[in-house]
């Protein structure tokens, strides 16, 4: 296995609300090899966004990391003091957020927001930083880069703003880029442009960890995929294996829901029931309530992530044993 640029080991994080502890992230292990694009897919509330924000140290009150480590290029970053964490954020590990409409400071010029990281980490003089920003704007495909530098966020369209976000994240050439639902808020034609841009970024050697609920985006971009459900990883495999031979009932449910949409016909495949409440997760497998193959064993003990061969792992008592469909 070549060296992993980012490794998350047994990460757990919870929200401590008045009503009790919400276990949003539960013993999650993720590896992002150098120069690869790794995806985390799951429905809303499954903890995928929490996981990456926890490892970036961006959890807001009342969220807190409860356990586990995050290794960036061979250095543990969760236990670092705040000063050193800030030194890494934006320099070695950077993040692009979901909604370009609200992720840029409305009262500050776009150019200034992009050069800010350079001044923070490279204390680069303003003129040089501006040149760097113009080059980066051109790299991410923003027309009239020089003029755009001085405009305000509300003067740019959604697509342009997301390109600015990507430029802002890439300006210090980070080792790892985390993208939290980067194209969800965009229209499909603009989304295609941004996805193509992200593919190009990866070819320049940056490792990318992308979060999405859209299976299409994951299929087009990722080399390796983790599927999350109710705070836990239920299946992980390289993209081709996952899409062709999904083992976990939840993954199969997701894939058949999506493909039945495209097949037409009357009845769409669905996953019955609702996502369990994270305050009181059911004993045993958290998918047991909605799984049609659920048996006594599923309700009692929580299956652990079994390796089924060439990097394909699944968290299910029955899916593992040669059940490849």
């Amino acid at each position: 296995m070549e060296k992993n640029m980012l490794e998350i080991r047994h990460l757990s994080a919870s929200f401590f609300t008045q009503k009790g502890e919400v276990k949003a992230v539960n013993d999650v292990c993720i590896e992002v090899p150098k120069g690869k694009i790794v995806g985390i897919v799951g429905e809303s509330g499954c903890g995928k966004s929490m996981t990456v924000r926890a490892c970036m140290g961006l959890l807001k009150y009342p969220g807190r990391v409860v356990g586990g480590e995050a290794w960036l290029d061979g250095k543990e970053i969760l236990s670092l003091p705040e000063k050193e964490k800030c030194a890494i954020r934006g320099d070695e590990i950077a993040m692009v957020f979901q909604d370009p409409m609200t992720s840029l400071n409305p009262v500050v010029r776009v150019g200034k927001q992009v050069t800010e990281a350079l001044r923070l980490h490279r204390n680069m003089p303003a003129a040089e930083a501006r040149r760097e920003a113009v080059a980066m704007f051109e790299a991410v495909g923003i027309p009239e880069a020089k003029k755009r530098l001085s405009s305000y966020p509300h003067q740019l369209s959604g697509g342009l703003r997301q390109r600015v976000m990507i430029a802002m994240a890439m300006i210090c050439h980070p080792k790892v880029l985390i993208a939290d639902e980067p194209t969800t808020a965009l229209d499909v034609t603009v989304e295609a442009q941004i996805l193509r841009l992200m593919k190009k970024l990866c070819s320049d050697g940056t490792s990318v960890l992308i979060i999405s609920h859209n299976l299409g985006v994951i299929a087009q971009l990722c080399d390796y995929v983790y599927v999350m459900y109710a705070g836990r990883i239920v299946e992980q495999a390289d993209t081709f294996t996952l899409f062709e031979e999904p083992l976990h009932p939840y993954t199969r449910g997701l894939l058949s829901s999506v493909s039945s949409l495209r097949r037409g016909g009357d009845k769409l495949d669905t996953i019955p029931g609702v996502v369990p409440n994270l305050l009181h997760l059911p004993a045993g497998c958290s998918f047991s309530l909605r799984c049609e193959r659920c048996e006594e064993k599923c309700r009692e003990c929580l299956p652990d992530l079994m390796d089924v061969g060439d990097g394909h792992k699944v968290r299910c008592h029955f899916a593992g044993r040669g059940e490849k469909a």
């Binding site: 959604g158 034609t189 603009v190 299929a219 449910g253 894939l255 999506v258 493909s259 669905t270």
Partner: protein, 332 residues
Amino acid sequence: MSDHVLLEAVNLSKEFPLSRGKRVHAVSDVSLKVYEGETLGIVGESGCGKSTLGRLLIRLLSPTGGRLWFRGEEVTSFSDQAFSKYRRQLQLIFQDPYASLDPRMTARDIIAEPLNAYHVCPTKKATTERVLELMEAVGVPGEFLYRYPHQFSGGQRQRIGIARAIAIDPALIVCDEPVSALDVSVQNQILNLLRDLQKERGMAYLFISHDLSVVRHISDRVAVMFLGTICEIGPAKDIFEAPQHPYTRFLLDAIPQPDPRRRDEEVPLLKGEIPSPVNLPEGCLFHTRCPYATEKCRRERPVLRSEAGREVACHYRVGATLPQKNSAPEHV
């Protein structure tokens, strides 16, 4: 899908005034028919005017131009009061399950509101029974009768919105992005529900969405909108399999296919940004982004011409000549 017309619009347009004399051309001369019991899908990117069109057709917004017929009777110049006898036949479902239900009312009162507005049931008890039937019909447990909206999940709230819409047996329900805010598994549950309700009660749907695969599944006919106008309208199967307008073709190619085997196909992408609806370009609205635009496109705005059941607003119907794409292979 019967063949007599429920609703017809001719050259319908709507402009919103902006500061300093500028105007936003939300919808510009759209003509379309909605047949009884059919599902007409309206698809397009944000800002293309699909939501505005939806509200124009049920007269929640009054048009600045064009004419509107409801079951053969012209209603363009009807006052709100005069139109109220048709209001009951036209209902609306919203995208945001959290904002479309009054947080201060219980589920019972929300669903009962249309019933009370038209005095459908004689007594309060009968109304409650009718509400319970409706809740069963949309799959919300009866014991949540007196719960407040914030005590429901997103999917359940959307079901309550649907129950409210079907309470007085409308002839047409405009669904404005009803499933866009939901996850795919819950989304499919709602789409199945809408399909079953249509089979039972025979009402027509005007299904508005930016998600092409959802529209493809649920619609009989589809209209593709761009910058306030309809660039292509026709049976769903033909539109998705053999699009003729270049914009439709680019729209279809842009969808990220959930199939890793098709990831390295270098598909031609639309360049540039979505133009602003304030100063519309001359000639064909799409010519600024269309790679095949000719001098004629820049000067003359194409009109919707119908050919073999399909209406396309493009001089050259270039979409048909682009590399033919087979539909995605099926999954397990």
